[in-house]
């Protein structure tokens, strides 16, 4: 177990290093951030001074090591644009994204798994066909378009829900939250549903595929031959067997939702990290980009680690392999 964790942490470090090099090189190749930041009319001396101030006149390899050295000391640098420590900038936006992503995953899971189970359990039923048709729409219709449609219907036409923004937040353990108040929910529900739609389609299809496979297995037949009720057959035997692919996809989707909720955040004007990274890319705010992407890598590694640990709980055969 300890060996497994150490191996994982080392892997994560390698990924972070590789990632930082790629981002550094990539941003360097795109252009000089000073050109974007500075007024084109300013003179060469001011330009040189700024370049020198940000250390951009030094060789790339040196810039990289300075950056990495600072990072190891917990200093991710300062945003070129906001003149704020990057870490503060990111964590001021992180709770909003986290809340949105978790709500979206909750919606996708609570709807997707039961619907998928039903569609796999009764594949011929009309309701199952409707569910499957919906799931195709879920991951083939573009997110921004659905977002606009949701705003049109629920905010503009019906006027039930606000069209965007985060609304009032209450502070819980120092973190601003929307979902603690009913009004907060009225703001989060549309973007969360919009974000959930793709994952919902995916989870429905995944659950259905697993269910229809497990339903035809010998142990389900044996469970029925023992007189187990259909509820028990599905709830006990099927659910546990299909959970591994579901947990895998759940983890990956949670990670990508946290990192790349950009489209939904833009459509609903949600003040999350997605908007921050898009803004940083436009102005080549390198410290923010690098730090953000390293945070994303860290999140993915963390989620994958949790997923791997959950596997062992779900399937004893995997546990044996890990132990040996």
């Amino acid at each position: 177990m300890i060996g497994f964790l150490i191996q994982r942490v080392l892997q994560a470090l390698m990924v972070v290093i590789a990632m930082s090099i790629i981002v550094f090189l990539g941003v360097y190749a795109i252009g000089n951030p000073i050109d974007v930041m500075i007024d084109p009319a300013s003179d060469q001396a001011l330009r040189e001074a700024l370049i020198h101030r940000y250390g951009l006149d030094r060789p790339l390899i040196e810039q990289y090591f300075v950056f990495m050295n600072n990072m190891l000391h917990g200093d991710f640098g300062e945003s070129f644009i906001y003149r704020l420590p990057v870490i503060n900038l990111i964590f001021s936006r992180f709770p909003a994204t986290l809340e949105l992503a978790l709500t979206a995953m909750l919606i996708a899971t609570c709807l997707g798994i039961p619907l998928g189970l039903w569609a796999g359990y009764k594949p011929e039923a009309l309701s199952s066909r409707a569910i499957m048709a919906f799931s195709v729409l879920g991951f083939s219709v573009p997110t921004f378009w659905v977002g606009l449609l949701l705003i049109m219907v629920f905010a503009v036409e019906l006027g039930w829900l606000p069209s965007g923004g985060r609304g009032p937040t209450t502070t819980v353990f120092g973190i601003p939250m929307s979902i603690t108040s009913l009004e907060g929910w009225s703001y989060i529900i549309l973007p969360a549903f919009n974000l959930a739609l793709f994952k919902l389609g995916l989870l429905i299809r995944l659950t259905r595929a697993g269910t229809s496979e497990v339903m035809s297995s010998d142990f389900v037949r044996f469970a029925r031959a023992q007189g187990l009720s259909e509820g028990k057959v599905v709830g006990l035997h099927v659910l546990k067997n299909i959970s591994i692919p579901i947990v895998t996809v759940f983890g990956l989707e949670l990670g990508s939702t946290l990192a790349f909720a950009v489209v939904t955040e833009t459509v609903f004007n949600w003040p999350g990290m997605g908007k921050l990274i898009i803004d940083s890319i436009t102005v080549l705010d390198r410290p923010v980009m690098v730090a953000y992407l390293i945070l994303v890598v860290f999140l993915f590694v963390l989620i994958n680690l949790v997923v791997d640990l959950v596997y062992g709980q779900l399937d004893p055969r995997i546990r044996v392999k890990a132990a040996s």
Binding site: E124, S217, D218, F219, R221, F222, A223, R224, A225, Q226, G227, L228, S229, K232, L236, H237, K240, N241, L314, D315, P316, R317, V320
Partner: protein
Amino acid sequence: MSDAVLKVRDLRTQFHTKAGALKAVDGVSFEVARGRILGLVGESGSGKSVTGYSILGLIEAPGEIAGGEVLLDGVDVTRLKGEALRRVRGAKIAMVFQDPMMTLNPVLKIGTQMIAAVRAHDKVSRKVAWERSRAALAKVGIPSPEERLDAYPHQLSGGMRQRVAIAIALLHSPAVIIADEPTTALDVSIQGQILAEVRRLADDTGTAFVWVTHDLAVVSSLADDICVMYAGKVVETGAAAEVIASPRHPYTAGLLASVPAEHEPGERLPQVPGSTPSLANLPPGCAFAPRCFKAGPACTTTPPVQHFEGGRTALCHYPIESDSCPPPSSTSAAYQNAS
């Protein structure tokens, strides 16, 4: 056999395919009495497993039971649905499947699966259910059952898993257990132990067994009665010892002739020529006629059920007569000549 607990009468099970309805089970009838073991024998595709599934109502679309009845203590199981059928399964008729690697859920502990099986019919606490599971494992000869309850199926050998499956089948002391080739996937010594265990259980508890198998050696050492199936039909019935000593139906004779133990080592084994016909494309009359060494002109018409002494029957125009009963070697010679 008026005290039969299970009476199967003219059971018909069909599978609807593009090629039309396939009659996997076509008018099968047999009876099993308390504490008796019936060997349901046949080759792959003869419909013996489907018969077993039909008895428990485990046939799924595109299959359906097209007719006949399965009387369990006078109640027709084929007419039961939903909750009523669930109450019978596992409690009055239980089933053990062929492959012990597949019949236990790999991700649930043995204990979890057994407790669920107990509580499917008896509303008892988990503790009581656990205790009953432990007792059931002990009954089928599993050492240290407490530890086994806490194990996952992959931690047990194939023989142990099949014993667990049998223990699960025994949990509610059912009147009948359908065993679908439960020892086929096991090695011979384990098979022998399990057969002895089953014989003892049938004698002690009065549970009737329907032992579905293709293995005549198993049947001869285990079963009281035999029912030989071919292409969805019962072709011969009778007491096991008598059928094996003097088969009436040429097909049974052919099966017996190809048992390796009856022959000199190194000698070429006689085979029944040809292979089991496709259910979609059965010959008219007797389905076995094209492979039969005794086939005659009448065989293109539906064969009659012929009765013999000792309650034996054979579905044949030209059954093998008892006084002219050929010993296994001459039967094999007949088959070798025919092939």
